[in-house]
Every structure is written in C-alpha cells, then in structure tokens.
Symmetry: D2
C-alpha cells in the first residue's frame, strides 16, 4: 500500500486559492532567434489556482513541466521566452486537472550589440521578461517584456540653472540650444510589457530600441573620452522627466504597432535613481492600446 | 522673472499616467499605541495620477507632504502606520490639484515580546505594512498589513516517511500521534493585508498573532535546548502546506472579524523557503470578505 | 537525565574555525547622544572562533548576550553603536569560554537634519555602522562607521564637453569658472570606518559631515526649484572622481583627527552608480593613520 | 588640440588608493569544459591600485580589457572562469602601467545534472566563482570557487527530542539509528574558494560535489513522493551543524588534494537559514592547506 496522496485529499470548509505554485526556479534556456542561439539563464515562477475542495497543489508537477517544456524548446527551437512561457502555461492547465487558471513569469539577462557615436562596438546588458496567463477553455494571454537601464537628464533643473546663469553672464543667453546648461542626470530603469496576440510577433529587440530611444540617452559599457562627452551632450539636448519617458514609449508603441487590436495590454514603468535625492522618481501607465488611442484622440 | 514651472506646462498629445511619484523615502515615524511610543523607521512610496494635458507631477510636494504629515502625527499621536498613510493620501489629493487618484505605501520593522514554551521572554521582529488609496470625491481606502517569518513542516513527506519507516520497524505503527515522524521544515514568510473600514480599528498585533497561529510554529530569537525541541515538536505535530497556512488565516479572519462588511479587501500570501528544494513554495488568496463568506457557505 | 550538550562534545580530528556565530539579528536599540534618545533598528552579526577540539559553538548564548547588553544599554544610556558593539564583544569572550576571538557588526538607519542653500530644513537618512573585535587577554578594537549617499559630477566629461562646445561657440571660452559645462552626475554611496581608540570619542555625525563635504554635493529629500538648481550648480563647480572622494575624506581625517595615534585603522570606500554606464565606479583605501601620514609626507 | 587626459594628471598631496575600478559588469562568457560549451552570464568586478601621484585610474580601459579577453577566450576555448579571471588580471597590470596590483572577481550561475535516490534526473543550479590577484613582477594568484545551496538538519534538537519522546513512549528507545527523530532542518548556503596553483587544475564540479557531500543532504528541483521522503531521511540520518559542514569540507579537501602545496589558500563559509529562528547560523574557516594540515596533526 502506498501512502495517501495528501495533496489530492478532499477537504471541507476550504477556501479557493487564487495562486499556488513555486517561485525562484532557475533554468538554462536557449532561444533561437534570427539564425542564432541565445543562451539565457531564466528565473521562473509558475502558479495555478486551487479549488476550495482540494487540500494541496501538486508542486512537483510544476518543475517537471518546466523541465520538459524547456527540453522540448531546445528540439523545437523556441523563438522567445514568451512562447516558452505560453507553452508551460498551457501544460500547467493540462496536468493540474483541478485548476482553472495558470500563470508563468520568466526573466533573464540578455545582451545586444550597440555602437557608440564614435563608432565603437559595445555589448550591452538588458533584461528579457515574459508572462503568460491562461483560463481553462478561454485561450492564452502572453506578454513580452524588456527592462532597460539608461540615463535621464532633468529638464526642470536645466531651465532654472539657465535662468540663474543668465544673471551671472549675458553670454549665456547667446549660447543657443546646441549648448545646453547643466542639470542633474542619473541612472534610469524602465520596464515595458506588451501583450502578444495570437499569430503576431513582437520582437523584444524592437521594444528595447523603443525604450532606449525614449530615454535622455542610452548608456554604454565602453566610452572613450569623446564618446563619453557625446553621451552627456545627447542626454542634455534631450532632457526627460520619468513622465516623458513613459509617454514617449506609449507614443512610439501606438505608431509602431498600429495594426495591434485595441484589447492589447501594455504597461510601462520608469524609475530614475535621482542623483540629487536619496529616493527615486517613478512614473507608470497600465493600460490597453484602445485606451491609449482614446487618450491620443482627445 | 522666475523660470517657468516646467511641470505645470500644458502639453498636447500627452497620455494620462496612472501613477507618478517617488519611491524609497526613509523617515522615522512614531506610532502611539496602547500607551507607549513605537519608534519606527518607515520606507515610503507615494503616487498620484497625472492627466494627459499636464507635463509633470510636482515631485517635491510629495516629500513636503510626507514630512509635514509625520511632524503632525507626532503632535497628534497617530495610532498606526495606516492612519498616517491615510492622512498623507488625502493631503496628496489636496496639493496635487490636477490628480484624481493618490496612493501611499509604507513598511517598517516592528517588534513584539513573545514567550517560549519554557517561559523565556524574547523580542521578535516583524514587518508592519500600510497602504492607502484615494479617489477624488470618493473616500479613502486604508489597508493594514503584517509580514511574519515563521516555520512550516511538510505534512506530505511526513506521511511518506511514516509509510517507509513502518516497513523498517513494526514499532513505528505503535508510536501514536504524539510522536510525529521526520519531515522537511523551513523558514516561511507570510503577508496578510486587510482593508480597514472607516470607524473600525484592526490591531496589527492581532494580525501578527493570527499569522503566527496559522504556521506550523512561530520562531524565536532565543531558544535554549528544551525550548528548541519544543518548537520542533510543535511544528511537527502541526504540519502545514503553504496552502494550509493561507486557508487557516482566512478562516481565522472570518471568525475574528465577523462584524466587518463584505466589501473589505483581504490578501494573504505565504512563501516557504523549501529546505529540500532551491526554489520556494507559494500560495495566495486575493479576495474580499464577502467572497470568502460565499466560499465558506458552499 | 538531561540530554547531552551536543555542542560541548569533545571531538578528534576537528579543525579550528575562524568565525562561528549568527547573522541577521534585528533589534531595537536606543543610543543616548547630545541630550536626546536615538531610536535605531539595528541589524547585528556576532561571531567567536572555535577550537579544533570542540564540536559546536553555543549559538543561543549569542542572542542572550545581545539581548542582555541592549537591555543594559537602555539603563546605562549607551552613547553609540560602537560602544554597544564593544560591550557585546567582551561579553562574547566571557561566556564562550573556549573562544579566543570575538567579533560584532552592527548597522542601523540614522537621520540628521540638514539645511538646503535656500534655508529649507530637511531630514536626511544615513547608515550608522559599528564593528568590534576582541582577542582574549589582548584588548578590544572598536570601529565607528557611516554610510552616506550623495552626488558626484565627473570632471573628465566636463573638460571634454568644454573642448567640444568651444568649437561650436567662441562664447563658451568667455563664460568663466562660475558657469561650468555639463557632465554626467550620479548617485554615490560612500562608507567611512574608523577605529576608535580607548578613551577617545569620534562622533558619527562628524564623520557624516566629512563624507558629505567630500562629495560633489550632498543630496536632500526636499528641494524646491531654486534649491534644486543650487545643488546642481554646487556639484558641477566641484566635480569629483570616486578617487577624489576617497582622497578628500582621507585628507580631512588627517587634519581633523591629528591627535589620533598612527595605529588607528581607517577604511574608505566610494561607489558611483554611473549615469552613463550600467556598472559602477569604485575606489577604496584600507589603511592606518600612520601609513596615511607617510603618504602625505612624501 | 585635444582635451587634457584628466586622469593622467599628476597631483601632489595625493594618497595611494588600494583598489580603484568598476563593479557590476555583466557579460556572456563561454567556458569550454569536458568537450562541451558552458554558456554563462558573468558578473564581474575589476580593480587596480593607484599611486599617490596620479589623479585617476583609466576606468574605460577596464571594460575594454574585459571585452577583449572574453572575445579571445571564445577563440581560445578558455576552460574556466578562473583562467579567464587570471588573463584579465594580467592584462590589467599591462595596460594600467602605473598600477602595482590588480584584482578580478567573477560570479555566474551554473548547472549540473543530478540523479535522485529514485533515479530521476534533475538539473540543479549552483554558482561558480573566480578571483584573481596579481602584483607586478610577482606572479598571479587564482582562486576557483563554488556556492552551493543544500540542506542541514540539526543534531542537537534531534537528541533533545529523542530524550523527550523516550519519556512519552518506551518504544522510542527501541527504534534504532535507522529511524531518526524529528529535528529542525533548513536551507543552507555554503561557499568554498580554493587557490589554484600554476600548472594545477581544480574542477569546480568536484568542489560542488565535495560541498554537497558535506551537507546533511543535497537538494533537488524535482522530487516525487518517494524521492522527497528519501531526501528527508538522508538528511536526518546525517544531521549537521554549520560547524560540521565547514569541517567536513576541510577534511575532504585535505584528502582529495593531498598533492597541493601548503601555501594554497582556502576559505569555507556555511550559513544555515534556520527554520526555528529569524536569523542565520554561520561558520567559517579562512586558512591555508599548511595550517589545516597542522590542525589535523595535533
């Protein structure tokens, strides 16, 4: 006689649980994209819901599913983290037969080549993110995401400084827009997550490009003297509040993904690790493309 | 002439932002409770929304408001973090005249005396949490929360071990329920957040007690030999999945707060840092008391 | 018959252990200084060594000692974390009779009032640190430390930008030193630890002042428009590499503590969270005042 | 005329700096080992010292060196992180002509297949570490390291429980050593770093095996019911203090690396995230093989 399956036991006076699962699973993943293999180390969380009548969720099935789906992804050359997350999500519903909801979250370091103003090649690090949720008999929702570190320079301080310096020297007024005034600038971390509808492909590389293009300036690992100055000049000619960063990304998403339906979810979060404060500045929009299009029409 | 207020500038083709504010502000706070002052170091985030027509939120007002409300809380002897969070939240709407939504989050270390089975007194650390949100002309929602570290022992492994050991020695079957079998046990972190309706008081100390009472055992800083064994025995006589922890808390909340209305929000999250795995086990319920009562009636 | 004291058991073929103890103990501590009580939440690690012949260290004694010494510190109005750390360290040797070495580390959030250029008062957060080590029959070494967050502006980028802008407009050369060029600036975290010899007092507040005075600028929670610009102007008139920050602190320590003996240990670490890179810049000096004085004489 | 090289500027009254460099650089690295490529995401810190007469270190050279050496490592099929760290370290001294000391630190997630008692294959995550230091004209020191997460069960609580349970039932005394009593067990994180002398190879995989074999039990991602019970049984038949973990690793290193010279540095740190406390238990030995051998001879 084998011991009872404690998890499967039926209980009374239980409560439904919205998410039960495992967090912090680390696995190597290979994503096959544009003709080359990307070797990623993914951090993975998976959850299903649990009906009020069942004592426990079968936790070990979760790691089995993750492992099998990653193995299969190598043979079938999966193209993205979100495709893999979607596959795991479907399989969670398949094997947790009592569940009506499943959710998968993945994150991994990711690298892209960039070229500095001076023509130097540098390999920059980003984060890829993916999220998938599924309801039984109700399709699958996948989101692709990127987390990008860059630079913001403050437009407000720049104007106040211009005003103060104008009183010190009349030459300041004659400098023109190509010679911006000093301001505070800082490291900024911005996250963009977008729903990927069925039969549509959204390239994480494009999303990274959109975020980088919405900051005061991207940042680079290697900057020799002239390149360093150019990043500083670019950032100050393009000062941005966190609010501006989020809005510029939203605007570019509307332009670049005009064919996506109104129902598509999109979240943008930008946080500047202020150089003049010990706290951070933060801006966020959680919305759908439809809502954004309505905003834009007003 | 003073420089333009860059933030106040009117813009076209902007987008509404759901949250704009500051994160990671640290402040000393004094909470006056049960006749004594609790000196807390609070970590604070505050946000308001921003209409599509306005360039920026006035970030410096946020720290001014936090500072003034904390100063006032000392004079008026505020009773809880959530009361303070509510006050800050109202003031955010007051002084960000363009905002229709405000949100405040606070967290602080907190200490309570506990007595071990052997009668030893020990000072244990917990986390207090508070959250407040407000919509203009639409009241204020406050939540009180606690984060408690304790211990869970796995009921499933215990049964399997009993089964295996029964085959090694017939005496195992004769031991009785007071002598539980070995299992894996581990550090668990559980969070409970509850909405506090107007004119109601919910004591964080009571919530901590409810969470501690729903784990396999509370944990203690000082445990001499017999106390240590007693904690181990208590935990194994009371084995719990993360699912059980969440459900037991939900059950105790229904019992202990029967007078609270159905609309009250409640969230319970429990995470066991599994000793047999490198990942964590997780369970969660996000709900209202009304939904819970319906679960319970089924 | 009570069970054996497992830790006390004598073993053969053991190895000496350099540090055995507990980490991550949280306790409320009150430090009485300049006529007022500072309520701190301290994070504490304590260690002793263990001879090769003894199986285990008595871990529960560590928390007992911490608790008793903190209780005593309230009655005796201890003046600093390092005084408390020293007391705990002596007691560790007292009650771990087999140990020849003891070590204590403490860290706590700490707040000081600051005034901005515009006369505004703001409460700023810092970290206090303390470390104490003792060898049996060989006195006690105490260190006081501070961790300060501030701002650095890069001198190198500023010069390159000046060179580039001079080619765009001849007016740039006429602006004078009061109107600095743009550069990258960023959040900087600097730690200063100093040994406190017997019968000497070193005020943590003074150390915080020395670090703040060695950065391009301190940072503030509340900055209205003119104050914000002034911080930016101050930082750019005072550009600093991390190397400069460390050396300026070392120079000020030599000047301000001329009476301290050559044997006094001092460590300075400065890390700038570069706004133009995804990585940090770092500089450090681990030394004694005697070595520093020799450097300075060259 | 190009702008001055600010860093190269000669200064008076400077102080020597013990370490100047960059921290937190992320790069993909390929390590070629046992016929297969390991794709790692490495986190890298590099430092050189700085003489008192020079204003600044050339920070951008650091990332250039890291990038070039990683590129070269792909072509030359580098066998380990420590070999790569050693190469970077030498190059740091080469191109920071003013430096007399260089240091490199690397860390990366790493995966190895493991088989559970029940024969199931599971891919487990570990951390690889490497450290290299060099003094000019004085050779290179390389260290290989591993960070392993596993499980410890407490021997002390187990004995006390046995004592208590023996009073409840006389059958407890008859159970025999194969049926251990309950105890607290928990997640443990242990780090082992060993110097790698010239012309010697130390396999990180072997070090991981030594650490796993010195814990109460390794841990696994996938554990079906019987496997889970077996891990619990194994751990309780092999209870360990953190002190035991460190000493067992030291003993195995002496045995397994008998041919290594006395001068070889070795550090072992073990931390148990106690299930019965909110703090951790910690043990450490920092030593050389020579010192260890002397301990062992006593």
């Amino acid at each position: 006689m084998r011991p009872l399956d404690v998890q499967n036991r039926k209980i009374e006076n239980g409560f439904r649980l919205t998410r039960v699962g495992i967090t912090g699973v680390k696995k190597p993943v290979v994503v096959h994209r544009n003709g080359r293999d990307n070797h990623l180390t993914a951090l993975i969380d998976v959850f299903v819901d649990l009906p009020s009548t069942q004592k426990g969720s079968h936790m070990s099935r979760n790691v089995e599913i993750i492992t099998e789906m990653i193995d299969r992804s190598v043979r079938q050359k999966v193209k993205s983290l979100e495709e893999l997350a979607g596959g795991i999500c479907k399989e969670l519903l398949e094997r947790h037969e009592y569940a009506s909801y499943a959710e998968v979250r993945m994150e991994a370091d990711y690298f892209l080549e960039r070229t500095t103003a001076g023509g130097r090649t540098t390999l920059e690090s980003f984060k890829l993110r993916a999220r998938a949720t599924a309801k039984r008999n109700n399709g699958l929702m996948k989101l692709v995401g990127v987390k990008v570190q860059g630079m913001t320079a403050c437009p407000c301080a720049m104007e106040t400084v211009h005003h103060i310096f104008s009183k010190i020297s009349s030459k300041v007024g004659e400098l023109g827009p190509d010679i911006p005034m000093i301001s505070h600038n800082q490291r900024n971390v911005t996250t963009l997550m977008v729903e990927v509808p069925e039969h549509v492909e959204i390239e994480a590389d494009d999303l990274i490009g959109i975020v980088e293009g919405s900051l005061s300036s991207p940042t680079y690992g290697i900057l020799k003297r002239e390149d360093e100055a150019q990043v500083v000049i670019d950032a100050h000619r393009n000062p941005k509040f966190v609010e501006d960063v989020v809005r510029d990304i939203l605007g570019k998403m509307l332009e670049g993904y005009a064919e996506l339906p109104d129902s598509v979810h999109i979240t943008v979060r930008s946080e500047s690790e202020e150089s003049i404060h010990k706290h951070n500045a933060f801006a966020e929009r959680v919305t759908t493309l439809g809502e954004l299009r309505a905003d834009d029409d007003e």
